[in-house]
Amino acid sequence: MYMASSIIKLEHITHKYHHSVALSDVSLEVKQGEFWALIGPNGSGKSTLLKIILGLLKPTEGTIQLFGGPIDSFKQQQRIGYVSQKSNAFSTKFPATVLEVVKSGLTSRKGLFKRLNKEDERKAIDALHVVKMGDYQQESIGNLSGGQQQRVFIARALVGQPDLLIMDEPTVGIDRQNVESFYSMLSELNREYGIAILLVTHEIDVVTQLATHVACLNRTIHFHGAHEEYDKMTESELSGWYGHPIRRLHQKETEPIT
């Protein structure tokens, strides 16, 4: 029988910032072809978990494997595309065009000392078309709206054709219509190219319909498993770990009521 290979494997991850525990005993495995939605309330440790997977933070305890090997010897950064929660934290006066920003997504694929060429530029333009920003190539990044910038950062994550996409609330600031087309694009990337996805989101209703798997995090993993299993949970089970009430509407969930 065909076994999907392991892309991310977390075992007993605990992370403390100074003395406050952000994550406690988190274990999770993402396999090839899976689309995981990671959900949880504010401050539940979602971004912390992603940063640990990306090697930006070292966990206090626990082990991480990426693409079957330990994270410490992981050298294939080009296989991971990343959109952070605060991508647009740069100065709006930064002199760079949209195209230059997207091309910087090829840094790891090219390798040290190699220069980006016309071929790379073509790839960047293609990625911009995917997020419908093809007309803005020469625009200065600081002149775009927040949602447009976010789409550029998504293009930067896609341009290197990664095997794994890690996204921390990528659709913040993007309007409803474009959010839907973005998610259907993710779903397509996942189904047609087998790209594994780990997506943090508060748009629970949309994403849990598209994702193949759902993980519910609040310091520790309260639920993880296939989408169908998640759907079987009752509202009160969901609300129990989320910390405040969640209602399901027409087989969908609304955003948590705060």
Partner: protein, 276 residues
């Protein structure tokens, strides 16, 4: 002046060094400014001052130093200073910018000590502080050429890593860019450019040549490549006008170059204002 350039070697040295510095100082300056590190070049130039003053003082005391070009010790001090800043930035993680005044004051402190210990290198020292058209030797020119080759190679081969680090350091780290190594190399390169530039523009004005043309460039450029081109153009214009006026008016070129840069910046700001 053209005739004089063909006649006098010192003028050739000054003009060629000036033209080269007009390229490399603003070029590197762009990477410094966009990373909000403009003050670092200031700190390093003051450390270079300590090195120069130390070398001038030692040359009165020890025979070996009398034969040594003070630029070497100045540059060496700046390199050491650059590594110290990197260390301090890690010690004061949440107050990174504190590293700069610490190193800057240390530089001025040592500089002041050496200057008072030694009596009577007044004119030499003024040349190092504000630049000089007549004091640039062939050896100085060769140093400048060597450093220019290193700087251009560094920026050429690590362009995408440096861009990535400047625009989004976290993303650069996720892309596997070795931030610590590149940052250390970057600091050393900055120290070298300061060393190369101080003969012409002077220690006190080196950092202006690294920041003023860039400040004007980012007002007009849309792209990073464009900002790089504008920085170089503004830097070259300032050096050329500055050197010519320094030669005819017989004043320190550091002053004329920097004042020209300021005028270019004001002009660009004014031009932007009337266009919008």
């Amino acid at each position: 002046m053209i005739e004089a350039i063909f006649t006098y070697e010192f003028l050739q040295n000054a003009v060629l060094s000036g033209l080269i510095i007009g390229i490399i100082a603003p070029m590197l300056g762009l990477f410094i400014v966009v990373r909000r590190m403009a003050m670092i070049s200031d700190a390093l130039s003051h450390v270079a001052l300590a090195g120069i003053a130390g070398s001038l003082y030692l040359s009165q005391q020890v025979l070996f130093f009398a034969a040594l070009n003070p630029v070497y010790l100045g540059m060496g001090a700046a390199v050491v200073g650059s590594l110290l800043i990197e260390r301090l930035r890690r010690v004061y993680k949440s107050f990174e910018e504190l590293a700069i005044p610490i190193i800057l004051s240390a530089g001025i402190g040592f500089g002041a000590i050496f200057i008072s210990l030694a009596k009577g290198f007044g004119t030499d020292l003024v040349g190092y502080l504000f630049g000089s058209v007549s004091a640039v030797s062939r050896q100085d020119l060769y140093i400048v050429i060597m450093i220019a080759i290193i700087v251009i190679a560094f920026l050429y081969f690590l362009y995408k890593e440096l861009f990535s680090l400047a625009f989004d350091p976290e993303y650069a780290r996720v892309s596997g860019v070795n931030e610590q190594v590149i940052q250390a190399a970057f600091m050393i390169i900055t120290a070298l450019v300061i060393g190369a530039s101080m003969r012409i523009v002077g220690i006190l004005l080196v950092s202006s040549l690294m920041t003023l043309p860039v400040a004007a460039a980012i007002q007009v450029a849309k792209s990073y490549k464009g900002a790089l081109m504008y920085s170089i153009v503004f830097g070259e214009v300032a050096v050329i006008i500055g050197l010519i006026s320094a030669y005819y008016l017989d004043i320190a070129p550091g002053g004329t170059i920097v004042v020209t840069s300021v005028i270019i910046l004001l002009f660009v700001l004014f031009w932007k204002k009337i266009r919008s």
